[in-house]
Point group: C2
DNA sequence: CCTTTCCGATACAACTATGTATTGAAACAA
DNA sequence: TTGTTTCAATACATAGTTGTATCGGAAAGG
């Protein structure tokens, strides 16, 4: 597979603009830089980003990087925006089972994308609002609404009482993982199952 | 009140060593620097700390700072270790009420000490292990064990079933707050009350 | 009075990061 | 072929940070 653009399909996940003259960009450089940027973000946070170190570690040069993003912030935003939302688990119609699937999915995502540390970055007070917004829009909001949907389906099916406190209970799902990470507790293997059942019961269900 | 040591009591919260010759240290400088360091930590994280900026903002100089802490890391550790654990709420013997009090206390602590951002810092992967350890030992562990104690007292009193999943449920307490912070949701005024009741019910109680 | 330590101010060398620029070669369009 | 853009490598000025050092003066103990 060529690392260079072909005339159909996409380059770097983006629709191809009308072909322009000159040597095409190597899209492997894009991905390598964005990946490295995410690693550095997770390790050192925003202020710890070093353009030079990223370009170097990505096997490229600062010039190739500056050609794509004007500054550190744009790079960070791009790195987060590029985080592909992996395909969410399918909805079976059985809310509790879906909830468990959702937590299992969350667990998988959070470990290999190092997005846990990214969440930590977002708690820093000097983080750029636009950066935070992209993160929330791309990564936090979709999952949150799926979790809420599970619980509301439970209500609709009569499995949960109508006055269940979904707004608070839904924060328990990811919150449990954050709390363990902060405390240094290693989540148990059956974390998804136990947490889902607890949340379900918190809402008044008999799981 | 003098900012200089007297011959009894404490300096800067530390027992006085056998009086040594020379001009005594100004302990207001200690507190100003530690306070400023915490603010900077919350804002920029560890890699964003600037000794010069901290000394400056604290109204002192780098020399006064270097005289006290050899490097950036020691300063950060000291700043966290200095975070006074405010007196925890009194135990009434009524577990659910105590749990609510604990959450209310947590809420108060987390807002004015900017310790929420500190939690975010701890999620960074390059954070020094000793730094993380001090944070957990000082701030995370005490609260966590108090929350667990509330729930276990509930079990002992027969208000909660003996097989309640306290280990997971206890992570919901602070986790809920973290999740809201990451999501950008402003916790409601009755957050402590609602969360405590949900956790209680998750454990099988009829709150 | 003498010694010690602290304080504020200033200075300095070493290092790192940033942003821009240039050069020669490579890859492509027209 | 010509023109355009990219790429790797290198260079450079600017700025910020770090750690150490020095200096005069202030505040204490002996």
């Amino acid at each position: 597979m060529s690392r260079i653009s072909d005339t159909s399909g996409k380059i770097c996940g983006v629709p191809i603009p009308p072909a322009r003259a000159g040597r095409p960009r190597d899209c492997e450089i894009d991905t390598a830089i964005l990946e490295t940027t995410r690693r550095h973000l997770a390790a050192h946070g925003v202020s710890g980003l070093s353009i030079a170190a990223i370009a170097d570690e990505a096997g490229s040069t600062r010039q190739a990087l500056y050609r794509r993003w004007p500054d550190k912030l744009s790079l960070a935003v791009a790195a987060v925006a590029d985080l592909a939302e992996t395909t969410p688990p399918v909805v079976t119609g059985e809310p509790l089972r879906d909830l468990i699937a959702e937590l299992t999915h969350f667990r998988e995502c959070i470990v290999d994308a190092s997005s846990l540390a990214l969440a930590g970055v977002m708690l820093q007070e000097d983080v750029d609002p636009e950066f935070r917004r992209v993160y929330r829009e791309r990564l936090v909001k979709p999952r949150r609404s799926r979790v809420v949907a599970c619980l509301e389906r439970g209500i609709a099916l009569g499995l949960l009482p109508g006055d269940a406190d979904v707004a608070i209970a839904s924060t328990f799902v990811t919150g449990s993982w954050y709390a363990m990470a902060v405390a240094g507790t290693k989540p148990p293997k059956d974390w998804a199952d136990r947490t889902a059942h607890l949340v379900w019961r918190a809402c008044g269900g008999k799981g």
